[in-house]
């Protein structure tokens, strides 16, 4: 224990020194989102600027603080001044910002989005007062975007590994008791009370037990786990140690998808640092607890996010789920008692063990304690990674935090391919496990996709079923064959070839697949279809009976037309049409031949942005063919 205390002290000193910066600090958000937005270029540019201007400054790469729509984010902290955040920085604007704020110590407030100080500063609002941030309660994400994920000392300085130290001072049973009292539920989607699984594992005899972290985040649209690992890897690792101690495991395995190379790199680095600091291996922090962590990379199978399929994959087999019983907590990896927890569940533990269960109970509500991270994407104005208390309503998330939509709201999709689309009537529903399940969806891992009137709901259902069909392992009949039939029906409907009894067939198939499938993937695969049937039935009927797609998306049901009164005959569209469907002489209104039109949008886009008229082409529902 002395070792760590010394190190913590040293780390805190280091952090203090950093905070009381004698020189400027420039923070650049360089997790995957930031990089995709161009952070690497900005990083190089910053270093060049500093060299050219003979200025010394500390350049710190930080992780993702959340609002992806503001990336790339560059923060500047001058000595004695609060840290100021600049959003959507480009190679053009960077030198201006640096020149002003670093060169002349004057924040360039026109481009600043917020600051991290206490009071107002130069008319720049507090970052945490921004509408997207203010309602958030950042527990799991508390360090993301603020510390350097490659510096273990930063983590120590902000009380990292204090939770582990507290846990090691209790008995494992007491640790489970704390987690029980805190009411923590699995954040991977199922929402199963964490302490229950742990208790079963703890009580199962066995010399070798395993703790597996499920970092296979396969839901399209979900990136919470990736962000956490890239921005604060030690939070996950500390959580794994706490969990391992509680259940009596000596080996931890992180099963992480291969598509997250930066996260994998950060984990390897963090694990190396832990070893150096005596936080891994034998007698951790002088206790009887010994633990090791290794990584296993996924190989491209969404189904391996399911517990038993994950175990199969680690064992070197096809990722086909196993029947339960036996449950993994009793007989899992290599037949040993195994606990599989999601990244977020584990990432929450250090906070609970550091601050206590009573503290955690202040957030959320009875039965749904604590917070949850969500990736809020789609047609909202402010897209990104957020963390809110359980029980927050969808309306608060979409409109207060997300800034609402530009066009009328249509639906919110939760839970990825296992979840469903909820309509307007659910906006005032609290986001908690039971409410979402009652509506026919699930909380899932946290993907929230906002849709407006330009989204065809049948097309969305088709998209998810196509995904499920590609990812189904093929072992059991209901999922492998049933989802194929559902997909075929949806394809017919979107092509305008639906039959009157299709809706009944969809419901029957959905019912069979839900009840008959072997694993969670199959059991939840029909949810996108069943929820959209329930809440958007009319849209289905329109496709089938009227051959009409009200969102004007399904290609076979729409047509492109020229509004003769508005067309100036500039021929911009004629030049770009690949099939020669749009024709017309100069200065005379053009015409679309529907038989040749392939709905590629070229003419529409050209007219809007490059032609004279701008709105002479419309896309609308086709006349129903008899």
């Amino acid at each position: 224990m002395n070792n760590l205390t010394k190190r913590v002290e040293a780390a805190k000193e280091k952090w203090e020194t950093l905070q009381q910066n004698k020189e400027p600090i420039i923070y650049i958000g360089a997790a995957s989102c930031g990089r995709a937005a161009g952070a690497v270029q900005l990083l190089a540019q910053t270093n060049r600027w500093l060299k050219e201007n003979e200025t010394t400054a500390k350049v710190v790469q930080v992780g993702c603080i959340g609002p992806c729509y503001l990336e790339p984010l560059v923060d500047i902290q001058m000595p004695g001044q609060p840290r100021v955040s600049y959003n959507n920085v480009t190679p053009k604007t960077l030198p201006v910002i640096l020149g002003s704020h670093v060169g002349e110590s004057v924040p360039y407030d026109k481009m600043a989005i917020g600051h991290f100080g206490k009071d107002s500063y130069n008319g720049i609002p507090r970052f945490y007062d921004l509408p997207m941030l203010k309602p958030q309660v950042r527990i799991v994400l508390r360090n993301c975007g603020l510390i350097d994920p490659e510096e273990i000392d930063h983590y120590l300085a902000v009380d990292g590994y204090q939770g582990l130290a507290n846990a090691l001072n209790m008995s494992p049973e007491d640790v489970i008791g704390v987690v029980h009292h805190a009411g923590l539920r699995g954040r991977g989607g199922a929402g199963f009370p964490t302490f229950k699984k742990w208790t079963v594992c703890r009580n199962t005899p066995g010399k070798q037990k395993y703790l597996i972290c499920n970092a296979d985040e396969g839901d399209p649209g979900a990136f919470m786990n990736r962000s956490l690992i890239e921005s604060d890897p030690h939070a996950l690792l500390e959580g794994m140690l706490i969990a391992g101690y509680a259940i009596g495991a000596s080996q931890g395995i992180i099963y992480i998808r291969a598509e997250y190379p930066l996260a994998i790199e950060r984990l390897h680095q963090a694990i190396g640092q832990m070893r150096e600091y005596g936080l891994l291996g034998e007698h951790i922090l002088g206790s009887d607890f010994s633990f090791n962590v290794k990584l296993k990379e996924g190989a491209g199978a969404f189904v391996c996010g399911e517990e038993t399929a994950l175990i199969q994959s680690i064992e070197g087999l096809r990722g086909m789920p196993r029947s339960r019983p036996p449950f993994p907590a009793i007989s899992g990896l290599h037949g040993c008692p195994t606990i599989i927890n999601n990244v977020e569940t584990l990432g929450t533990l250090p906070n609970i063990l550091r601050n206590g269960a009573d503290w955690y109970n202040r957030f959320g509500k009875e039965g749904n304690r604590g917070t949850k991270t969500f990736s809020l994407v789609g047609k909202v104005r402010r897209q990104g990674l957020i963390e809110v208390q359980l029980g927050t309503t969808l309306r608060q998330i979409i409109f207060d935090i997300g800034g609402g939509l530009q066009k009328p709201f249509k639906a919110i999709q939760t839970g990825g391919p296992s979840g469903g689309c909820l309509s307007e009537e659910f906006l005032d529903q609290p986001v908690d496990y039971e409410s979402l399940a009652a509506a026919g969806s699930i909380m899932g891992s946290g993907g929230l996709i906002v849709m407006d009137e330009d989204t065809c709901i049948v097309d969305v259902a088709k998209y998810f079923l196509d995904f499920t069909q590609k990812e189904s392992c093929g072992k059991c009949t209901p999922c492998r064959v049933g989802t194929r039939h559902i997909l075929e029906i949806l394809e017919r409907i979107t092509h305008g070839e639906g039959h009157a009894d299709d809706l009944l067939a969809l419901r029957t198939l959905g019912d069979t697949i839900k009840k008959g499938s072997l694993c969670g993937l199959g059991q939840t695969a029909p949810n996108p279809v069943l929820t959209t049937l329930r809440y958007f039935r009319n849209e289905y009927l329109e496709h089938i009976k009227d051959g009409r797609c009200r969102a004007v998306v399904c290609k076979d049901l729409i047509e492109y037309r020229v509004i003769k009164e508005k067309c100036t005959g500039c021929q911009a569209c004629v030049r770009v049409c690949p099939t020669g469907a749009i024709t017309g002489p100069r200065s005379e209104p053009h015409n679309v031949d529907a038989t040749k039109c392939i709905k590629c949008r070229s003419c529409y886009v050209t007219c809007r942005f490059e032609a004279i008229a701008g709105d002479a082409i419309v896309i609308r529902s086709a006349e129903k063919k008899s």
Binding site: R318, G474, T477, V481, R484, K515, G516, S517, Q523
Partner: protein, 588 residues
């Protein structure tokens, strides 16, 4: 023997007492509740893929499969609610949407007869023949049990070409319902893994790597997969179109000393198929290609002698049994003991062997009895028999700490030995294999030596030296074997038939005997002489009377077997061949 504590469960409102350690499916079937299933089988691990055997269990969410749920005391189970019935029907409809259903949903079924007359130049009868499994198909049975009259889902026909260029059985994967039984039996029971699931989801297929032929992929053609297939996807070529057998007889295979039980399938008094018997205590159902596929073909082969024949100047003529016996008796009358030589086949039954030696000794008065191994082995016969008589029971394989096999390949005989060895190797027991050109044990062997048989004697000698510490090579494969076996006990030496045709056979046998005596390894001999032990016991050797070996043999202590010399090269008036004898075994 401790009595198992019975468990009490309630199934469909009936309280019953069941054995522990079984699944709900098994317990139900024991109590006359026949839950339908396509992928479950008694000797395969529970899989839970077809989803037909779903039930409701109080305390378990949803609809668990009864084949994967173990019974627990006090369990309440429902197998037949309306919801379950509908679920089963819907799942079955999905299964059938990937399987041609003309045999199930033909609208002419009511008017159809078993045979239809077809008007051709000569009238013939035909039947509706589109699937080899018709009328004895598990899928048909399940459809009947579940009670399905029609399926509204569009059928997907994959259009796979029928795979018929491998020997013994055909594969038509258009009929496959992906129950996985074939993959599991090949992997769990036969420890071979020729068949594997490939790709995933709707693209899943079954077969060997890289679409190789089964011959190239290491298939042993044991036919275990063919037997477990619930549809007509896998079908044995010889019995494919013979329809449902009408009788079954159990018998013993004569192709190797193991003597596996085979269940002959008979139709219209003809043997049409041979199936394993998984409850057999001798072999546990692990028969090889010979017992499985060779038997029906040989039994019905047109070249097989079915009637007595007499050689005439115009060739062979059929004669009646009485005539044949009379003519033979005539030729043998008045012959002296030295005029005859009796050559006996090791495939003869005990009864036949006794009768043969009785005839030779009592009727003809001759001791010129020559079992065919005598021809083949010459001077090596005695050392070889020495090895055989002290061969250990097969159960020893399960207890061995290390196994070394010489000249052994269990694909064409002695399969139970081979599979038990593979099982041990999978569990971590050291396995070394010396063979040429290869052995089916190679894949699992830690040391696999593929050496020309001419070198075997010297390799074995250096192994003995190495293990006993008296010098010899310490590097290389022999060294590794020595290291693994030194200090292990029991070490098992499996001797296979390849040594019998090896050059330097005498030296090999000498080395093997030395291994047994000097290193105290236990020996199991796998040889091709089916009833060699019977021959020895019943006195089918010159100078060995019936029962001698039991009185004086290995159980009585030292073995000193002496056979009377028989001059095999002496010209005789009569050579009486009894049983199947290879031409190579005949006297010049």
């Amino acid at each position: 023997m401790t009595k198992e504590k019975m468990l009490s469960i309630t199934i469909d409102n009936k309280k019953v007492s069941v054995r522990p350690n079984q699944t709900v499916l098994e317990a139900a079937r024991d109590n006359a509740i026949d839950i339908p299933s396509l992928c479950a089988l008694p000797h395969l691990r529970a899989y839970g893929a077809c989803r037909l055997c779903v039930v409701e269990v109080d305390g378990l969410r949803g609809f668990p499969t009864s084949c994967t749920t173990p019974v627990e005391d006090g369990m309440v189970i429902r197998t037949d609610t309306a919801e379950i019935k509908i679920l089963r029907q819907e799942v079955l409809k999905l299964v059938l949407s990937e399987h041609p259903g003309s045999c199930l949903f033909c609208d002419q079924a009511a008017e159809c007869k078993k045979y239809m007359g077809t008007i051709r130049k000569v009238g013939v009868t035909t039947g509706c023949r589109y699937c080899p499994n018709d009328l004895h198909c598990e899928l048909q049975d399940v459809v009947e049990k579940v009670g399905l009259a029609e399926s509204s889902y569009p059928v997907l026909y994959h259009n796979f070409p029928v795979e018929k260029y491998d020997p013994f059985y055909d594969r038509d994967y258009n009929l496959c319902v992906l129950c996985g039984r074939c993959v599991r039996v090949c992997s769990e029971v036969r420890l071979n893994s020729t068949l594997s699931f490939k790709q995933r989801g709707r693209l899943t297929t079954i077969g060997p790597a890289f679409d190789r032929s089964h011959l190239d992929a290491g298939c042993e053609f044991c036919g275990a997969c063919v037997q477990v297939c619930p549809t007509g996807a896998l079908a044995s070529k010889v019995s494919k179109w013979t329809g449902k057998p009408d009788a079954e007889t159990s018998t013993t295979c004569v192709y190797c000393p193991v003597g596996c039980t085979i269940r002959l399938q008979v139709k219209n008094d003809q043997v049409v198929d041979a199936l394993p018997d998984y409850s057999s205590e001798v072999d546990g159902g692990l028969i090889c290609v010979k017992g499985r596929f060779a038997v029906p073909e040989y039994v019905n082969h047109f070249d097989r002698l079915a009637k007595p024949q007499e050689m005439t100047s115009m060739g062979y003529n059929d004669v009646s049994w009485d005539d044949a016996a009379a003519k033979a008796a005539e030729k043998l009358k008045g012959l002296g003991p030295d005029d005859c030589l009796f050559v006996l086949s090791p495939q003869l039954s005990n009864e036949d062997l006794f009768a043969a030696q009785e005839f030779a000794r009592q009727t003809v008065g001759s001791e010129a009895i020559a079992p065919s191994p005598m021809f083949e082995l010459g001077d090596d016969l005695l050392p070889f028999i020495d090895l055989v008589l002290r061969s250990e029971p097969y159960a020893l394989i399960d207890q061995a700490q290390a196994i070394v096999s010489v000249g052994f390949d269990s694909r064409f005989g002695y399969t139970p030995i081979g599979i038990a060895t593979k099982k041990a190797a999978r569990k971590g027991v050291f396995l070394a294999s010396l063979s040429f050109p290869e052995s089916n044990l190679d894949m699992l062997a830690e040391v696999s030596m593929r050496e020309e048989p001419g070198r075997w004697a010297e390799l074995l000698k250096s192994l003995i030296d190495c293990v006993s510490g008296s010098g010899g090579a310490i590097d290389g494969d022999v060294g590794r074997i020595a290291d693994a076996t030194r200090g292990a006990s029991p070490v098992l030496l499996i001797v296979g038939p390849q040594i019998l045709s090896a050059p330097g056979r005498a030296d090999i046998l000498k080395a093997l005997l030395e291994i047994r005596e000097k290193l105290s390894w236990k020996v199991i001999v796998a040889h091709p002489y089916t009833n060699l032990l019977g021959m020895l016991t019943l006195g089918a050797f010159p100078g060995l009377k019936p029962g001698d070996i039991v009185r004086n043999g290995p159980s009585a202590g030292a073995v000193s077997l002496r056979f009377d010399p028989v001059d095999l090269n002496k010209p005789r008036k009569v050579v009486y061949l009894i049983g199947e004898v290879l031409p190579a075994s005949l006297p010049p």
